[in-house]
Structures are given as structure tokens and as C-alpha cells.
């Protein structure tokens, strides 16, 4: 079952061709890792999927992206799309509020919550992001005082609170230590059960650890997409092999 379908995606910024004819599917309930060197267009794909790319001036996007067989441009408002497809950025950016307010920020945009509902949502979201035990005593203290790894898991929890169907991670562990990284990866594997996950990462080992399937992107072109095992043990393209074995990148 495919959740997202990308067809002939072309993106150019001010004449720079960032993505060329990229097409692939993202199936439901699995983790798709997108790997590739810097500037290969990995994050650009994510920004096309949640339409954040429209905020950048002088960008040209061609091709179709379907979410549950429906073109994302036909979805009534872009906010609706972004609630269905959450994103976690490379640098953890909690909003300048308390931990609790950070979690409730998204849900409260849409509707009022009773105190009981809100408490439950905060607890469930934090548990799903493997952060609850560390912060349950100080939900009303500033989110900016958490450590980097905790902030990143708070960002995951905050995304989960909106109840998205798809979660995209844009190099979520690039600034984290190995222990925090392990916790984030643990959360991702857990989330796979109810969500479709896209993981953009610079770290090929991470892709090997958590991805069900892996896509390799180079200079804006999709070189290869296949099951993670195959990509890392017997890739069909030479470029892929060179990249995953660390010959370049």
C-alpha cells in the first residue's frame, strides 16, 4: 500500500536544478531512508511533500505528489496538509514556551481541549517520543532548558500531538550524541507501527540501522531505491556502492 507517490518531481531554485525527474513511492507503515551527499536534494523532497517549498521565492516545482492517491495541491488548505504530514528538523527548535505548551501548540490551533484531554495528549505524545520519564516532573518549565537530545525528542512529541499520518525526519540526529541518537531511533521504530516515516539522513549507518527501504540521491537524481539490505549489501548501481562503502560523500 503506498502512502505517498512522487511522480517526475523537478525543482529548480533560480536556475539551479535541485531535483531532476525524481519518482518513487513511500509505502505505509515503513521507514524510508533517503541518503546522499550534501546538496543532493534530500531535504528539498521533504519540503515539496509538505509544501513548505512554496515559501521560498523564485522556486519552480513541477511534477505531482500524491498523498493517499490525492494530489497534495488539491487539499483544501496547506495547514491541513501539514497536520497530516509532520516534520522534525535537523536542529531541534522548541518554541519559546513550556514543555506542555510546546506539545499543545499544534492541537490547540484547531480546537479547544479540556484539561483532562490536554494532559492525556501531553503524556501520550511524550511517551511515544521516549521523553516522558525525563520530563514528567517539569512539564511547566521552559522547553529551551532541555538538553539537545531532549529538545529533539520534544520536537518529535510535538509533531505527534497533531496526530500526523506521515512523519518526516530531516537529519534528526545530526547534532546529537550517540545515546540521544539511539533514543530517537528507538522512537522512530516504535512510531512505524502507526505512521509512515521518511528519514533524510547524512549518516549511512543510521539508514542501515532503521530504514526498511533506502533511496540514494545524488546531485538531484534518484540513483537507486530498494530494500535497505540490498542497498547496503548488493546495490545494483556502482555509485551507490561507492557511497555506502564510504568511497565518496
Amino acid at each position: 500500500m503506498k502512502k505517498i507517490e512522487i511522480k517526475n518531481l523537478n525543482v529548480s531554485f533560480d536556475g539551479f536544478h535541485a531535483l531532476r525527474n525524481v519518482s518513487f513511492d513511500i509505502p505505509r507503515n515503513e521507514i524510508l531512508s533517503i541518503i546522499g551527499p550534501a546538496n543532493s536534494g534530500k531535504s528539498t523532497i521533504l519540503f515539496c511533500i509538505n509544501r513548505m517549498i512554496e515559501r521560498i521565492p523564485n522556486v519552480k516545482v513541477e511534477g505531482d505528489i500524491l498523498l493517499d492517491d490525492r494530489n497534495i495541491h488539491t487539499i483544501k488548505d496547506v495547514e491541513e496538509l501539514r497536520r497530516r504530514i509532520g516534520i522534525v528538523y535537523a536542529t531541534p527548535i522548541p518554541l519559546p514556551m513550556t514543555i506542555k505548551e510546546n506539545i499543545l501548540f499544534g492541537p490547540k490551533l484547531k480546537k479547544r481541549l479540556t484539561a483532562a484531554k490536554a494532559g492525556e495528549l501531553v503524556e501520550n505524545s511524550l511517551k511515544a517520543a521516549v521523553l516522558w520519564d525525563e520530563v514528567k516532573e517539569r512539564l511547566d518549565s521552559s522547553a529551551l532548558r532541555l538538553s539537545g537530545g531532549q529538545q529533539q525528542r520534544l520536537c518529535i512529541a510535538r509533531t505527534l500531538a497533531v496526530k500526523p499520518e506521515v512523519i518526516m525526519f530531516d537529519e534528526p540526529c545530526s547534532g546529537l550524541d550517540p545515546i540521544s541518537t539511539a533514543k530517537v531511533e528507538e522512537a522512530m521504530k516504535e512510531l512505524k507501527k502507526d505512521h509512515t516515516i521518511v528519514l533524510v539522513t547524512n549518516n549511512t549507518k543510521q539508514a542501515a540501522r532503521v530504514g526498511d527501504r533506502t533511496a540514494f540521491l545524488l546531485m538531484g537524481e534518484l540513483i537507486e531505491i530498494d530494500s535497505t539490505d540490498k542497498i547496503f549489501t548488493a546495490p545494483s548501481k556502482q555509485k551507490t556502492e561507492e557511497y555506502v562503502t564510504g568511497k565518496f560523500g
Binding site: 509538505n50 513548505m52 515559501r55 495547514e79 491541513e80 501539514r82 497536520r83 509532520g86 516534520i87 528538523y89 536542529t91 527548535i93 522548541p94 518554541l95 519559546p96 514556551m97 501548540f105 499544534g106 490551533l109 484547531k110 521552559s142 529551551l144 520536537c155 510535538r158 509533531t159 497533531v162
Partner: protein
């Protein structure tokens, strides 16, 4: 070499504070005796300002300054902050590039010109349509609101631009609209900077003299409503300094002392509110 430079810089830093201290000392030396002589409570809360009979009650001027400043803030702050939000967050770049310098230009207009416009154009409108003498709290507040706009807009735009872009991206990614993002994330985050702009604007409104003398009517009475004429603390000094001698002269300095505390008090209140929560 380093030592000499650091000494010189130290001298520069302390001299500006020293100047402030000297000014304060001088004003206090001149002003405090008369306050003691007529009694502090009498001086601050007396309703009668009759310098020739030795009656120095500045309460009407305190009330006048408060009314006009409050009026200017009520009119100017929402307008200024909305303007800043538009320019910083919503307007296309080329519009911002035209509008921002235009607003800054407002600061370059001499206050006497504002006052003149107020007298010739605004006061008659108020007199005809709302009644009263025209030269009034309302007229002065309107003019001051425009005069403090450049300060509020300029500082607020800087404060909004200083909010990390990542807050905005985070908020939008959670499904917030542009407006929800501004209202719930950006304005709270920029709050202390915006308040700093409001403080600066307030300082200008309290301290403004020329325009206020021209359009507030300068009546030495306690106003009943927005359409009455009033005199402010600053106007009191400026109007009477030419012919004041003896106790009268000292009473004007004492007015300066009150003004000094007035502005310090307002600053402290505003600073207290502007303390960041995070």
C-alpha cells in the same frame, strides 16, 4: 598601548554617566528646596499653580502629562505594532523597502511642524465636530501618537526580525497559519523588544515639549475629559522659564525633578513587564 586605550574608553564611559549625575545633582539642588518649602504633598498634589502668589501645585500638570501620554500610547502602539508586523512578516519585500524609510522619515519632521499642523488643521476639526476648545488632550495625543510611530515601528520591526526563523518554520510545520504563527509565536517571542520600543516612544511622548505647548491649550486646570485643554510638566517649564525668578524659578526646576522621576518610574514599570519569561 592597550592600557592607555582601555583607560580612554573607561573615561568615555564614565563621563557620560558623570554628565547625567551632574545634571541630576544640579536639578535637585535647584528644585528640592522649594519642594521642602511648600511641602512635598502640597507641591505634588496641590491644584493651584499661582506662581505670583507663591502657590506651586503641579498636580494638574502631572495629570495632563499622564493623559496625553496615555492617549498617545493608546493610539500609537496598536498602529505602530500592526505596522511593524505587516512590514516584517507579511509585506512583499519591495513594499517594505518603500514603507519602512517612509515611516522613518516621520522622525525627521521637526516637532514644531507637527504642532503647527495640529493647531491649523486638527484642532479646528476637533472643535467643530466634537466640541471644546479644540486645543486639547485629544489633539495632543493624536499628534504625539504620530510622532512616536517611527520609534515604535522601527524597534518593533527589529525585535520581530530578531525572532529566530526556525520558530516560524516549526510553527508552520505544525499546521499553523501565518497569522496564528505571528500571534502565538512571533509576537510573544518579540515581546520584550516591542516593549522596549513602547518605552522609548513613551519617553518621547512624556518629554515632547514644543508640539505639546502648541496644541494642548496649556490650561492650568485638572481636565474633565479628552476635549479639555491641559498643560504638561514639560510645557510648564518651557512656557514660564523666560520670566521666572526666585521661588518661581525653583518651582520650575522642581517640576524638572518630578519629570525626572516620572520618566524613571515609567521606565522601571515597563522594564519590569518586559522581562523575558524564558
Amino acid at each position: 598601548m592597550d592600557k592607555i586605550i582601555s583607560k580612554l574608553l573607561f573615561l568615555a564611559a564614565t563621563s557620560s554617566t558623570a554628565i547625567l549625575a551632574l545634571i541630576a545633582l544640579f536639578i535637585f539642588k535647584e528644585g528640592v528646596p522649594i519642594m521642602a518649602k511648600s511641602g512635598l504633598a502640597h507641591f505634588l498634589f496641590g491644584n493651584e499653580w499661582r506662581p505670583l502668589q507663591g502657590m506651586f501645585g503641579i498636580f494638574p500638570f502631572i495629570v495632563g502629562s499622564l493623559w496625553i501620554t496615555a492617549g498617545a500610547l493608546i493610539l500609537g502602539v496598536p498602529l505602530g505594532v500592526c505596522c511593524a508586523v505587516y512590514l516584517a512578516e507579511f509585506s512583499p519585500k519591495k513594499w517594505a523597502n518603500i514603507l519602512k524609510p517612509a515611516i522613518e522619515l516621520l522622525a525627521g519632521i521637526p516637532s514644531v511642524v507637527y504642532g503647527f499642523m495640529g493647531v491649523m488643521w486638527l484642532a479646528p476639526i476637533i472643535r467643530t465636530h466634537l466640541g471644546g476648545p479644540g486645543l486639547s488632550i485629544l489633539a495632543a495625543s493624536c499628534v504625539l501618537a504620530i510622532m512616536i510611530l517611527p520609534t515604535i515601528v522601527g524597534v518593533s520591526i527589529d525585535a520581530i526580525n530578531a525572532v529566530p526563523k526556525s520558530y516560524k518554520e516549526g510553527s508552520l510545520a505544525l499546521g499553523a497559519t501565518e497569522w496564528q504563527t505571528v500571534w502565538r509565536v512571533i509576537l510573544p517571542a518579540a515581546r520584550s523588544g516591542i516593549l522596549a520600543g513602547v518605552i522609548l516612544g513613551m519617553g518621547r511622548a512624556v518629554g515632547e515639549t514644543m508640539a505639546v505647548i502648541m496644541i494642548s491649550g496649556n490650561a492650568t486646570i485638572i481636565p474633565n475629559n479628552m476635549l479639555d485643554s491641559v498643560r504638561t510638566l514639560t510645557a510648564n517649564i518651557a512656557i514660564e522659564m523666560g520670566y521666572a525668578i526666585g521661588d518661581h524659578r525653583q518651582a520650575l526646576f522642581a517640576t524638572g525633578v518630578v519629570l525626572f522621576f516620572f520618566i524613571m518610574g515609567l521606565n522601571m514599570i515597563a522594564l519590569k513587564f518586559s522581562r523575558r519569561k524564558f
